[in-house]
């Protein structure tokens, strides 16, 4: 498949490149390939490239002529199979203790699945990071077991803890900082998903993969104190999805 994307002006100084309107790895592969091609080809003309599920926005520097840039993009040929996107798989330790997993019980009752099974189903897949949004470092993850899919809560919580791992609809994600939110909370990770002081402020990037690993409360505390002392190294390996 070498779909020609729809390329449109996006606001005063941006372009939106979009593909068929669906959430799938297939479509998203095109988004990542175009992101890579745009960054590689036009780095001196762009300020930001923002990928999402089936589209990406390219924001331009002020001096760049929008019309001419759109023409250049239309001439660009991008093959998603040839693009070597280097991805990593990051292991995210999660404590599913009910002190953290505030909605495990409710989810178990609503689904008719034991808490034990919910945790097994949640830790089984290798999730793909589609993109980051909503909050700095918040990953939109694809690959949730359809049996765990559950609507957002009817009323949002005023404060969800930093590190909360949660399910909203058919998606699962991690809150990088305390925030109001309506997702169902399964557990908590001690990892820093977002650190503005770091050279690379987010733990994961679009196109990366995440694997959840179950840990006990004791391990949670141990990792948290190692992180505080700077002696914890995140489990990360090169991954070819």
């Amino acid at each position: 498949m070498n779909t020609a994307p729809d390329i449109q002006r996006f606001g005063m100084h941006g372009v939106q490149i979009s593909f068929p309107s669906e959430i799938s790895f297939e479509v998203h592969r095109h988004v990542l390939a175009w992101q890579e091609a745009v960054i590689a080809g036009f780095s001196e003309k762009i300020v930001d490239v923002v990928p999402a599920y089936h589209s990406l926005a390219v924001f331009l520097k002020e001096h760049v002529n929008l019309g001419a840039f759109i023409d250049e993009l239309k001439d660009l040929s991008v093959s998603e199979t040839e693009t070597a996107i280097s991805s990593h798989c990051i292991t995210v330790p999660v404590c599913y203790d009910e002190t953290f997993g505030l909605d495990l019980k409710e989810l178990s009752e609503a689904k008719g699945i034991s808490i034990e099974h919910i945790i097994q189903k949640h830790t089984a897949p290798t999730y793909q990071v589609y993109f980051l949004g909503f909050l700095p470092g918040f990953p939109y993850l694809g690959g949730l077991d359809t049996q765990l899919s559950h609507p957002r809560k009817s009323t949002s919580r005023p404060k969800i803890a930093k590190g909360a791992v949660a399910i909203g609809g058919s998606q699962t994600g991690i809150y990088p900082m305390a925030s109001p939110g309506g997702w169902n909370i399964l557990g908590r990770t001690p990892l820093e998903m977002f650190n503005p002081q770091a050279t690379s402020p987010t733990l994961v990037m679009p196109g990366d993969y995440i694997k959840f690993r179950r840990i006990s409360m004791k391990e949670f505390d141990a990792i948290a104190s190692k992180l505080a002392m700077g002696t914890y190294s995140v489990e990360k390996e090169v991954y070819h999805g």
Binding site: G11, M12, V47, D48, V49, V50, P51, F134
Partner: protein, 282 residues
């Protein structure tokens, strides 16, 4: 240095924004009204991106521990220096130990104060702009101390000033482009959008302005896609959310319109209860 004696309602340090991190979910931030902020820096001969103070509705009380030049632009506050009124849109010399007050604005909502050389506060991820989770501070509170440059001041009289066309603050018309999902609206909804006199809700803030009064207009939600400052989203409630500088980077509501840069600046000066109308740029 500038000491904060009282923080005011929502006083922050901002520059032209934080770029290069939107793919990581980090908002652009930066001054809400770029026109006024640019002017404050220009009056002092600062670089365009020098960090300024954004003052919202209720101004702070500040004490200068060193002499410097300042320029205040934007909303119609009545600032005083040691209880003597000082002009807006003018370069003003403040002495060491001077106490600056702002009071309340009689037009507009946000003022900008530039200091010579710009505020030298925390610079992180390429910007001085306050944003929760990125900068240590999210708004100024009493006791804060803001470093500024010690620049020898020339003896000459400092009189640079500009006349401001106040109609910018009275203008209710917001110039818009069609948004990515505009064509999905029915013809009658499209017409209603630009003929409605909408009211600014009190829930408006640096993330988004909520506009009420478009009853009956509806659009389906979309697969989460990129958004930017000025994007007008149609909410399930039928209200419009106009995303502002602190907006998140992606969103799942239909993007029906897009404000031009000038329209964002105009909206940034509106208060709860003010009326606005969209008009399509041809």
């Amino acid at each position: 240095m500038v000491e904060v004696l009282s923080g005011g309602m929502h006083t922050t340090i901002q520059d032209m924004g934080r770029f290069g991190y939107r793919a990581q979910g980090v908002p652009v931030s930066g001054v809400m009204d770029r026109f006024s902020a640019r002017l404050s820096n220009k009056l002092l001969g600062n670089a365009e991106g020098a960090a300024v103070m954004e003052i919202t509705h209720i101004g702070p009380v500040l004490r200068f521990t060193q002499p410097t030049l300042i320029a205040i632009t934007g909303a119609g506050f009545s600032p005083t220096c040691n209880d003597v009124e000082i002009p807006l849109n003018t370069r003003v010399l403040v002495a060491a130990d001077a106490v600056l007050k702002f009071g309340l604005p009689n037009y507009g909502l946000r003022a900008y104060m530039a200091v010579l050389g710009g505020f030298q506060t925390e610079y992180i991820m390429g910007s001085y702009s306050f944003y929760e989770g990125v900068t240590q501070k999210t708004s100024l509170t009493s006791g804060d101390v803001l470093p500024i440059l010690a620049i020898p001041l020339a003896k000459e009289k400092t009189t640079a000033s500009v006349k401001i066309d106040r109609t910018v603050f009275e203008n209710r018309y917001l110039e818009v482009l069609k948004g990515a999902e505009f064509d999905q609206l029915s013809k009658s909804f499209q017409e209603k959008l630009v003929r409605t006199s909408a009211v600014v809700s009190s829930k408006s803030n640096r993330m988004a302005y909520l506009l009420e009064g478009f009853q009956g207009i509806k659009a389906s939600e979309i697969i989460t896609a990129p958004v930017q400052p000025g994007t007008v989203q149609l909410m399930p409630s039928g209200h419009c959310a106009v995303l502002m500088r602190d907006a998140q980077t992606t969103g799942g509501y239909a993007r029906i319109l897009q404000l031009t840069e000038g329209a964002i600046n105009i909206l940034a000066q509106k208060r709860a209860g003010d009326q606005v109308e969209f008009y399509l740029k041809e």
